[in-house]
């Protein structure tokens, strides 16, 4: 296990595990509310933050956090007020975010698109001490929200209209979900990169769904998959000299394919069990006798 002897690998593994936990933990609520691509959108917006960080010589991680939180809040506001042309407004935000990032980084003294690459595709081996501190703090926030408020977030993501009638602060919870997703994007930025962040939010959840029947089990399995692929990808990239971000995402998709293949026989068994519970022959529905006249 010489891999653990290097400080940069220790930092890389810690960052990878934290991303493996947090990305599916918030991603499950995005998938539940059918906003699976929101992470992708926030990733685009975060690029403006990275660019601004370079331009103003501030920490790109914190600047990206700030800008993507603002972007996520803006997306949520557009969802409330701009129902009719909401998708167009979101598209503007996404592409504006990406173009802004490229513009700002090229305006920065000595800056070029090369600086952007490590944020677009991740740069796990260059994670610094201060990056690790930032990632730990942000990850703690994400875990606190996604576990501590799981019943409230479940209710709002399942059925917003009903959640309002249970007296839940629906708008506040929606904003919190958006902000937490934005924070997760910046946590994952150094590990898998802004363009691949969304994969870690969505694919482990989709893979877990192949096996699970309950939300709680989906959550647990998705986080387990997240941790397994981020650790596996980081270790593989160390020994094989392949880019960690891409390795992690390809492993996640591999997990999805394997679990989908495993799920087919499982689903057949469950269907058989359900068929045993139900009678196989036809019956006249309760409330109607065989001799009833039925008007059509």
């Amino acid at each position: 296990m010489d891999i653990l002897n290097y400080a940069f690998m220790q930092r890389a593994l810690l960052a990878a595990v934290l991303v493996g936990v947090t990305a599916p933990a918030i991603g499950i609520y995005l998938v539940q509310r059918r906003q699976a691509l929101m992470g992708d959108g926030i990733g685009h917006v975060a690029m403006t933050g990275v660019g601004l960080g370079f331009l103003l010589s501030w920490s790109p991680v914190w600047m990206a956090t700030l800008v993507s939180v603002l972007g996520a809040v803006l997306m949520e506001l557009i969802r409330w007020y701009g129902r009719t042309r909401g998708d167009i407004a979101l598209a503007m935000l996404f592409y504006g975010g990406m173009a802004g990032g490229v513009m700002f980084i090229n305006l920065a003294p000595g800056g070029s698109n090369a600086n952007l690459t490590s944020y677009l595709f991740g740069s796990l081996s260059t994670v610094s001490e201060s990056d690790v501190t930032a990632i730990c703090l942000l990850a703690a926030f994400v875990v606190l929200v996604t576990l501590g408020l799981r019943r409230q977030l479940f209710a709002v993501s399942q059925d917003e209209e009903f959640a309002r009638v249970t007296g839940l602060p629906v708008r506040a919870l929606n904003l919190l979900t958006a902000v937490t997703a934005a924070v997760t994007v910046t946590v994952a930025m150094r590990v898998v990169g802004l363009l691949l962040v969304s994969a870690l939010m969505v694919v482990p959840v989709a893979a877990a769904q192949q096996l699970s029947r309950s939300f709680a089990a989906t959550f647990a399995v998705a986080v387990a998959i997240g941790v397994a692929v981020t650790l596996g990808g980081t270790v593989t990239s160390y020994y094989q000299d392949v880019p960690p971000g891409a390795t992690i995402v390809l492993l996640t998709i591999g997990a999805f394919i394997v679990l989908t293949a495993l799920a087919a026989p499982l689903a057949r068994r469950r269907a058989r069990a359900a068929a045993d519970a139900d009678p196989a022959e036809c019956r006249v529905p309760a409330g109607r006798a065989a001799g009833d006249e039925v008007g059509i």
């Binding site: 509310r33 993501s157 399942q158 009903f162 959640a163 839940l168 029947r213 939300f215 039925v294």
Partner: protein, 256 residues
Amino acid sequence: MSDEPVISLRGVRAELGARLVLRGIDLTVRRGEVVALLGANGSGKSTAVRTVIGQVPVTAGEVELFGTPRRRFRDWSRVGYVPQRTTAAGGVPATVTEVVSAGRLSRARFGVLRKADHEAVRRALDLVGMADRAKDSVNALSGGQHQRVLIARALAAEPELLIMDEPMAGVDLASQEVLAETLERQVASGTTVLLVLHELGPLEPLIDRAVVLRDGCVLHDGPPPKAVGQHALPGHDHVHPHDTSGAEPIRTGLLS
């Protein structure tokens, strides 16, 4: 106190987009009453209900719940709501118990469910005859069973007022009867009910009063109209599409 209306709408107007959907309706539901809101598609009946729960903003008029203006009303555990849905499922699998437990949040402090809350969830599932499916995924249920789960979710908070938006839409006959029985027991125990219905159907004997809307106005407020002709047949399911132009929308036998 007992005479205080549970729901009171006075001169309520509401818009969806640029379209005026409610043109000043009055609706009062008193304690223990079962009121059906009827009308063709697009007559504003769902919108009326959604102004009561605050889902649709009111442009004029007043909405009160239990004598409190809707804006200041916070006592949501007294209200059980069944939205118009054909499915209880979201983008992620969830069990019947998980979905129904969400209905108990209005009584749970900080979202923590205690033993009594879990028992209430189980009782609600018993009431709709879904206790044996408690651990199943809602994705595996039929349309009627979805509706039973949504009603159990509303009952989990043990509400005094039940608001249901087309609870019988897309529900098979066996489930319709379970739902009618469930509702009958709730009404017998003193629950007030406001129902949006496309037609009276198996719930007819329970209904004290019917309010019929057309084009966002109240057309009729009184005893429920009798169904006639084919519409009166047992098990008649009203599924044909309606002409939304409003030319002849009230040919459902409701008013004859």
